[in-house]
């Protein structure tokens, strides 16, 4: 059985607390309802880790509401973390879909973990196969408030590295990059949907770092970008499973 569907993720990279506009946790819940998982990486400051710890609660809450994963790291660990979070989030969504299928077949509340080890192996092969072949759309939201300034080069390198990993998969990938706050608006589009991130350097040079942190409005804008993409494809499909759209039957 071969399935080809699309996984939709928002990856939020931030170092602090939001302070403007809609509640980001609510916006994450809204995204989740529409089949987009919201994953968050909290970047700690090497010099003042304690200052930023307050922001961690929000990082966790956003990811939880968004059906995604959160991780708090120092800037130097960013490359590994960006990949790890993206891939874990994919696996988690797929596992959710597979578990839902299992419950249909086996009934009750059984999940993959309740299966005996040898059956689990077979399910894992399906999960692997899906992770490799499904299409992936990642919308990256970058906190461009002033305190992130010294981390931008690392963010840029991490994203480039992420694209090397994801483009080694069989399935297609599309990336879009948004930054907040924008120059004149709350959120600016830095890169519209594209399968390559090679030109990412130019994108980052356009960036100007601002003072406010409108995380909620940024997530909302992200949802809108997914919607625009879907309607432009003119293939509005049922989106029942979170983060997962079936395009051909299982």
């Amino acid at each position: 059985m071969h399935k080809k569907g699309t996984l939709r993720q928002i990856l939020l990279i931030t170092d602090g607390c939001s302070n403007q506009g809609e509640d980001p946790v609510a916006m994450a819940a809204l995204a989740h309802e529409q089949g987009i998982s919201v994953n968050v990486i909290g970047v700690l400051n090497e010099d003042a880790p304690e200052y930023h710890r307050q922001g961690l609660k929000e990082v966790e809450d956003i990811a939880m509401a968004g059906g995604g994963i959160s991780q708090v790291v120092y800037a130097r660990q960013l490359a590994q973390t960006v990949k790890m979070v993206t891939q874990k989030a994919m696996a988690q969504t797929i596992k959710g879909v597979v578990n839902a299928e299992l419950q249909q077949i086996l009934g009750s509340k059984s999940t993959m973990d309740d299966l005996p080890p040898d059956k689990r192996g077979e399910v894992m092969e399906v999960v692997d196969e899906m992770g490799e072949t499904m299409n992936l759309e990642v919308l990256i939201l970058i906190d461009a408030s002033g305190s992130m300034e010294d981390k931008m080069l690392t963010v840029q390198e991490s994203l480039l590295d992420l694209s090397i990993s994801l483009n080694s998969r069989i399935g297609d990938n599309e990336f879009a990059i948004f930054a907040f706050p924008g120059k004149k608006k709350e959120v600016d589009e830095l890169l519209s949907w594209s399968s390559r991130l090679d030109s990412i350097g130019k994108v980052f040079s356009k960036l100007s770092l601002g003072g406010i942190t409108p995380t909620g409005p940024a997530i909302k804008e992200g949802i809108a970008a997914f919607a625009r993409k879907r309607s432009s494809k003119r293939s509005f499909l049922s989106d029942d499973a979170p983060g997962y759209i079936e395009e051909s039957g299982m």
Binding site: V72, D113, P117, M124, E132, D161, S168, I170
Partner: protein, 327 residues
């Protein structure tokens, strides 16, 4: 959902003498000591009903299940032992949660670094030949190893043989590599994709050699090609292999066998040269010894006769040696 500090997890802190029993197969294991731990969990030496085993206990169902899938496949690669063999798969239930584990063959050996510390540098080449032989078999079976690095290799024996452990990165060909380590990853060095193919492993194999010469490792500079070129040239250990390492670095080998054969050729060449040198020096030595001994008797004996005598002597010894071998 993921513990931030793995070393604090119950999985990493089993005490010696503790017994764990699987939830499904009910087989008991008594912990002897921890062998090591990494991102996926911890590995213990333990006693089972059928002798010592290595027990890998993880936090994450999916990664342990993936590894088990790979180990199961390995036992099907015709007759060849690749990696430790799989013995049992089960779950360990505790008050704080259920942890997946598997038991595998315990490989008794030394780490690559420890082994090389006590040995001459040509061993590095020989171990690499062995590794490439195994990689070729693995590639033929449709897999790439992925996370090739000294931590995931052991030298067992004598007779000494390199073996790999930790199949967490082992990936079906043409898929994206499941797990890797930056220093050994060609993606990190800007030298290609993370697609599972023979050249991916061969790049890492080359970097294992580089790591043996530079145990502290190092990070990427702005011109990695130049950087590596200089590092190869500046290491007496790497210099003889520079040409082969450069080809692996640039993804020029399509099959592990190609790289292996070039390496074997090179090692043989080196051998011949050193053997030639040795022969010459032993002949010279014995000539000198003979000369002094004989000079005490007949000083007028000509040099040609002397050498003739030496060769006859060597020849007779050799005859006896051959006879001894065939009898």
């Amino acid at each position: 959902m993921m513990p931030q500090d793995i070393s604090k997890s119950p999985v990493c802190n089993l005490a010696a003498g503790e017994e764990i029993r699987g939830k499904w197969n009910k087989l008991p294991y008594r912990i002897r000591r921890r062998l090591g731990y990494g991102a996926t969990g911890a590995v213990y030496l333990a006693d089972s009903m059928n002798g010592s085993v290595a027990l890998k206990i993880g936090h994450d169902q999916m990664s342990i299940t993936s590894e088990v899938n790979v180990l199961k496949r390995f036992s099907k690669v015709q007759g060849k032992v690749l990696g430790p063999s799989l013995i049992d798969v089960d779950d360990w239930q505790t008050r704080s949660g259920t942890y997946p584990f598997y038991a595998m063959e315990y490989l008794k050996g030394e780490t690559l670094f420890d082994f090389m510390k006590a040995r001459s540098p040509e061993w590095a080449g020989i171990l690499l030949v062995q590794l490439l032989t195994d990689l070729h078999t693995l590639h033929q079976a449709g897999w790439a190893f992925g996370d090739l690095k000294p931590d995931n290799l052991l030298v067992t024996g004598p007779p000494y043989r390199i073996r790999w452990i930790d199949v967490g990165g082992t990936t079906v060909m043409d898929r994206s590599i499941k797990e890797y380590t930056e220093f050994f990853d060609r993606g990190y060095w800007g030298k290609g994709s993370r697609k599972a193919e023979p050249s991916y492993d061969l790049f890492s194999a080359g970097m294992v050699m580089v790591n043996l010469a530079y145990p502290a490792r190092f990070t990427r500079k702005s011109d990695p090609d130049r950087q590596m070129h200089d590092l190869r040239k500046n290491s007496p250990m790497l210099r003889p292999y520079a040409h082969i390492l450069e080809k692996a670095w640039n993804g020029k080998y399509r099959y592990a066998e190609e790289m292996r054969n070039e390496l074997v050729l090179l090692l043989n060449e080196n051998d011949k040269r050193s053997v030639k040198k040795n022969k010459k020096s032993t002949v010279q030595k014995s000539t000198v010894q003979n000369r002094t001994r004989q000079s005490q008797k007949k000083k007028e004996k000509s040099f040609i006769a002397e050498t003739f005598l030496v060769f006859t002597f060597v020849f007779i010894v050799y005859l006896f040696y051959i006879l001894g071998q065939t009898m």
